[in-house]
Amino acid sequence: MRGMSLIVKTVTRLVAEFITIFGIYIVLFGHLTPGGGFTGGVILSCGFILLTLAFGKDFSLHVLSKRAAGTWDSIGALAFLIVALVGYRVGSFFFNLWAEPATFKLASAGTIPISNIAIGVKVGAALFGGFMALAVFRRGARGGYEEDE
């Protein structure tokens, strides 16, 4: 993929930042407004996919390499698992520490925003990596996930 015309690139440059900011907003305010970690993560990966479609795969792989995408995928999942295991402090799985009646602030609702961020990172990275694996794959070319050894 070599990228598209100048008009598309210019518009993309303008829009991509807004998409990213919107995605981050959706992740962070998931416990107060519609949205949440998963939705925000998908929006973030949509931003990356738009970049890929407009500028070609080399550009977006420069921003976030496939290996880094895999790493963030794992880190997000591990972070969520750790949130789950924090519940062991009170002898349970998934206990919402620091829960308090709603204050409608960003830092409220205990572990929920943390879980949202973890899921957002995880889903964004995972979908971007999956999309790149699908996009890069060509007949007869070396592609897909790199083989080890």
């Binding site: 295991l85 002898g91 799985f93 790199e146 083989e147 080890d148």
Partner: protein
């Protein structure tokens, strides 16, 4: 502050699966993958054994219990414990085997990561007490298995995986539809609350329809005969350790366990569902074995036998349900259920062992065709002995475990007043014997072909995995039928199904 180990059964394999891809491009990644997966499989095995101390254990995740707001419950009774034992024992043996076998494939890290996800999914299905949670973990195990079937990336494997994936997603949709119907009818998702609701309010027509959707969905996952089309393609195409996991454990945890739990514990026992299960079981037994007799591909033959042997288990469950719903003797019902569960255990041991030995033969000779093999007993003594033990077990030769479980099921069918089903059981057992005599004759005995003169026994790690399972095959027949282990493992499992309506009381009361 009590410390429950139930979440660890899911958290350990999940943690292993999440950590492994971080090491993808690291030097010595293969060693790390081996270490992490053997360590977590061993931990799971030990945890499972430690579960046998207590009578039952229940955990409300996040402390959301019926006292405040109902959340998801994790509940382990005798039946879950039996399934956990099966899953974690077989997965330990298979991990040991994979360490050497997977040298032939690339991307070891991804393999072990997906393997751990599959184990986590099955453990999750077995310990959960919530319908939707069961669905989610069923999906984890299924998706990991779709990818593992295609692990070799050859055209046949991709084709089999695609077929499996399509039928698997139909199954998931039906299960989810059924869950939606139950939620519409009752407003509950927790199995115990559903059971309580059905006991007081009765089963409506929509709930019966949901039951039919569950039979289609879990029947597809468990490969019962009208829904079996994917299994003979998917199981042979996977790498041998994965075939062993799929045939030995996956179809039981996702299919049979879910059906047994639903129709004996959640729904009030009904003769209609019992009859359906009995018919499905009988048809699966017969069709599976008839398809198997004519096969010359070793792994495909084993796959068809899986359908047939699972038919025995479903038949036994159906017979038990029939007796219970008529208010008949609990001794007969208990005998049928005991036979079914015992066969479930035995099948996981000998079928995994058979798939592992077929993998060893393929590893050493490069072929799966029975006609091309011959005389391998002399060149591969360990594989030969293990394969022979497993074949004797599945064929139902007296001292081995397969004989006892089939025997119990057939007796129970006669006692329950289904002599034709008993006779069918005998016939299928005979055909199974014929089929495995063929395997023995062509693969292990006879003339050693010239090109296999230099075939050597497989490495020790693979042998170890097989020997563990072979010992279980030999020992289970005697040990599980005599008091200490019988009253520890088998009887609680049977009682969990036999005392159908106790389930709700035990979960909600404790």
């Amino acid at each position: 502050m009590e410390f429950s180990i139930l979440p660890l059964l899911v958290a350990i394999p999940l943690g292993a699966a999440f950590i492994l891809p971080l090491f993808h491009r690291v030097k010595r990644s293969a060693k790390i993958a081996d270490f992490v997966s053997i360590f977590s499989a061993g931990m799971l095995f030990v945890l499972t054994l430690s579960l046998f101390e207590d009578a039952r254990e229940i955990l409300w995740v996040g402390r959301w219990s019926p006292k405040s707001v109902v959340g998801i419950s994790l509940y382990v009774d005798g039946l879950s414990r039996l399934l956990l034992l099966i899953i974690n024992t077989v997965s330990l043996a298979v991990v040991l085997y994979s360490v050497q076998y997977m040298v032939r494939y690339t991307s070891r890290i991804l393999y072990f990561s997906l393997f751990m996800l599959m184990v986590a999914g099955m453990n999750g299905v077995v310990i959960t007490g919530d319908m939707f949670n069961l669905f989610v973990f069923l999906e984890i195990a299924s998706i990991a298995s779709y990818a593992l079937v295609a692990f070799g990336c050859e055209s046949e494997e991709l084709e089999a995986s695609f077929k499996y994936l399509i039928l698997g997603s139909i199954a998931s949709t039906f299960v989810l539809f059924g869950i939606g119907m139950l939620y519409n009818q009752t407003g509950f998702l927790n199995m115990a609350q559903l059971s309580e609701h059905f006991q007081t309010a009765g089963v409506s027509r929509l709930a019966v329809m949901a039951g039919c959707f569950f039979i289609v969905g879990f029947g597809l996952k468990g490969a019962m005969v009208p829904f079996h089309a994917w299994l003979p393609d998917a199981h042979p195409s996977a790498p041998a350790p994965i075939s062993a996991m799929l045939s030995g454990v996956l179809i039981k945890a996702l299919g049979i366990y879910a059906l047994a739990r639903l129709f004996l514990n959640v729904y009030p026992v009904s003769s209609a569902f019992g009859t359906i299960m009995m018919l499905l079981g009988a048809v699966s037994m017969l069709i599976g074995v008839l398809m198997a007799v004519g096969q010359w591909d070793f792994k495909r033959l084993l796959a068809y036998h899986s359908i047939s042997q699972m038919g025995y288990v479903v038949l036994a469950l159906g017979v038990g349900m029939g007796v219970l719903s008529r208010g008949g003797s609990t001794v007969v019902a208990g005998l049928a259920l005991f036979g079914g569960l015992f066969h479930l255990f035995n099948h996981s041991a000998f079928k995994s062992l058979l798939f592992l030995s077929s993998g060893s033969i393929e590893y050493a000779t490069g072929t799966r065709q029975l006609k091309e093999m011959g005389g391998l007993r002399k060149r591969m003594p360990v594989t030969g002995v293990c394969c022979r033990i497993a074949s004797l077990s599945i064929a139902g030769i007296p001292p081995f475990n397969g004989f006892w479980s089939k025997w119990i099921i057939i007796i129970a069918a006669f006692l329950a007043g289904h002599p034709w089903l008993g006779a069918l059981g005998v016939l299928v057992a005979f055909l199974t014997l014929v089929s495995f005599v063929k395997v023995q004759r062509y693969a292990l005995d006879g003339e050693l072909p010239e090109r296999y003169r230099n075939v050597r026994e497989v490495p020790a790690a693979m042998g170890l995995g097989m020997i563990i399972l072979a010992l279980i095959c030999v020992a289970a027949g005697v040990l599980l039928l005599t008091p200490p282990l019988k009253s520890l493992i088998m009887e609680p499992a049977r009682d969990a199904l036999l005392k159908t309506s106790e389930y709700a009381r035990l979960v909600l009361g404790g």
